[in-house]
């Protein structure tokens, strides 16, 4: 259960942190329909995060609830991949990050939908539908922006160059994943194949850049994040931490 708790934290933190990045788009989106859609995606991910964090708190024996885990852990105890925490850029950056994450996470949830843990399998079974919508949303914008104007094409290439090197971390197994038999490496091929199809339709080249280096072998899954993570958590946690023990 300690390993399963740690795994729920990893997936829950991915969802929570990406949700926070999407929320930062609200009142800043290029069109009102996108305000609605991004809020919708953010709500899906926030819902997944709440169920996964709650499950982690049950499994690790600490009795911590979703809020205790979200608001009172420090940065090094957060286990999300670095891709989801990077600062927001332009809308192309938003679309590309969603595309990379949703394609990989849908593929993962599909495999977890029959996991032995009833909560994890339920989150995955519902999540696979949600993520399929996220991937569709991101794919359709990828195609429109990639095959839109020269400027949108250029911005999409820049976003791909910036984000692609962080994708590899999603396929790099952590020891907890290996012990649980949920090695993410087999996701790599189908995810890349799917991304290749979308990028081809979008007239965008598949980037070839290698993954970003770790720090002495450690990265997001080990609590070693980027410099974007501290300010993100500071903002997320500031009100809750100003009122220890309060109920909201």
């Amino acid at each position: 259960p300690a390993d399963l708790a740690a795994y729920c934290l990893m997936l829950g933190d991915d969802a929570l942190v990406l949700s926070q990045r999407l929320i930062q788009w609200i009142t800043r989106a290029p069109e009102l329909e996108e305000e609605v859609a991004l809020a919708n995606l953010g709500l899906d991910l926030l819902g997944q995060a709440r169920r996964l964090l709650t499950r982690a708190g049950q499994l690790d024996g600490s009795g911590r609830g979703e809020d205790e885990l979200a608001y009172w852990r420090e940065e090094s105890a957060y286990r999300n991949v670095r891709l989801v925490e990077l600062e927001n850029g332009d809308f192309a950056h938003c679309v590309v990050r969603l595309l990379l994450f949703a394609t990989a996470r849908e593929e993962l949830y599909r495999r977890l939908a029959d996991h032995a843990d009833p909560v994890l399998s339920a989150v995955a079974a519902l999540g696979v539908k949600e993520l399929a919508y996220h991937r569709e949303y991101a794919s359709s914008w990828t195609v429109r922006l990639g095959d839109g104007t020269e400027e949108s094409h250029r911005r999409m290439r820049a976003a791909l160059d910036a984000l692609w090197p962080w994708l590899e971390e999603l396929f790099t197994p952590h020891e907890v994943e290996l012990r649980l038999g949920v090695d993410p490496l087999p996701l790599r091929e189908p995810v890349l194949a799917s991304l290749e199809r979308v990028l081809a339709e979008a007239t965008l080249p598949l980037p070839a850049a290698p993954g970003r280096a770790y720090v002495n072998g450690r990265a997001g899954r080990h609590g070693v994040h980027t410099e974007a993570m501290g300010p993100l958590l500071a903002e997320l946690q500031v009100v809750a931490r100003a009122h220890p023990g309060a109920t909201w």
């Binding site: 290029p30 926030l46 608001y71 911005r155």
Partner: protein, 323 residues
């Protein structure tokens, strides 16, 4: 056969009579019906201002989305922001039935030719403001908007039915947040009182200037766009809110607030209309910030909208050539 001037004249007179009869009978005017130009212009201005208020109104609360102190409150607030964007969409669609388009209205908003509710030019300074906006600002909006569900213009009336239902839900959530905070720590209770102190008077000003100083009201009433005077609605809001404040345990910051048994209503003090005038003229604490944010989103998103159009055009051409 071209209609003669006289036949056009007679047709207009008949159409006007028909319009007047529909309005007087509390029936709905629909987009294809003839309507007086001034009626159309009044509606466009009012619906646009209302749509703009929904969109600008996302900012003060949106300010707390990333900082909401529990994940449940974060989800509630995010769903509310999503609803508001949706309300904006309905209302712009209602305005479009009158022959204007959304892009044009957005341009008028960001260059200051059209207004939005002045209440959103005040800052949200603590998380309690989220609750107080739900309670007081949404509450005042509902007082203003419920009569609009019976507005003579059909698309606007139908949009308002849906919007009012969701607004009531938001108001209850706001009040529930405040109940939770008032049952919490001293610091939480103090946050609520401070937020009420800051939002009470601006909320009262949401009903507009006193009746004597409200020039367009009479015609809007005749057209069944407006149904109650500013002062009537303000009084209704005060009477509804005072017992809620007592139940919450907060003090409304008005020493003149007193039950008037004779009128069966609460007496209350005069808002600082000069501050409201400053805010209306663009000099409020957040006017520049709100418009700037909206302008930045709109202009910063231009390349995205252009790309979407370019892609749609390419697709249409491809389908045309293959079909």
């Amino acid at each position: 056969m071209e209609p003669t001037e006289r036949s056009v004249g007679r047709w207009v007179v008949e159409a006007q009579a028909q319009f007047d009869a529909v309005v007087a009978a509390e029936q709905r005017v629909e987009p294809r019906d003839w309507m007086p130009e001034a009626y159309r212009a009044t509606l466009v201005r009012q619906i646009a201002q209302h749509a703009h208020s929904e969109i600008i109104g996302m900012q003060p609360e949106g300010n707390w989305l990333t900082r909401a102190p529990s994940l449940r409150r974060k989800a509630i607030l995010l769903a509310k922001a999503q609803d508001e964007a949706g309300h904006g969409l309905y209302l712009y669609a209602a305005a479009e039935t009158l022959g204007v388009d959304r892009a044009e209205l957005t341009e008028k908003l960001v260059d200051g030719r059209q207004k939005y509710s002045s209440i959103f030019n005040y800052p949200t300074l603590t998380f309690a403001d989220v609750g107080v906006i739900g309670w007081l600002v949404d509450g005042a909006a509902i007082c203003n908007q419920v009569p609009l569900c019976r507005c003579s213009y059909g698309p606007y009336a139908r949009a308002m039915v849906r919007i009012c239902k969701e607004e009531s839900f938001h108001q209850r959530q706001g009040y529930e947040l405040l109940m939770t905070l008032m049952a919490g720590t001293d610091a939480q209770r103090a946050m609520v009182q401070d937020a009420v102190d800051r939002w009470w008077w601006p909320s009262l000003m949401m009903f507009g200037p006193p009746d004597g100083a409200s020039p367009n009201s009479e015609r809007s009433m005749a057209w069944r766009i407006k149904r109650h005077s500013n002062d009537e609605l303000r009084q209704r809001f005060v009477d509804m809110t005072v017992p809620q404040a007592e139940h919450l345990g907060v003090l409304l910051p008005d020493p003149e607030l007193a039950w008037n048994a004779e009128r069966g209503s609460w007496d209350f003090g005069e808002p600082d209309w000069s501050e409201l005038q400053q805010v209306i003229k663009g000099h409020g604490p957040c006017n520049a910030q709100r418009i700037e944010r909206r302008r930045a989103a709109h202009e910063g998103g231009a390349w995205v909208r252009e790309a979407a159009s370019a892609y749609a055009a390419k697709q249409a051409a491809r389908e045309g050539s293959s079909g």
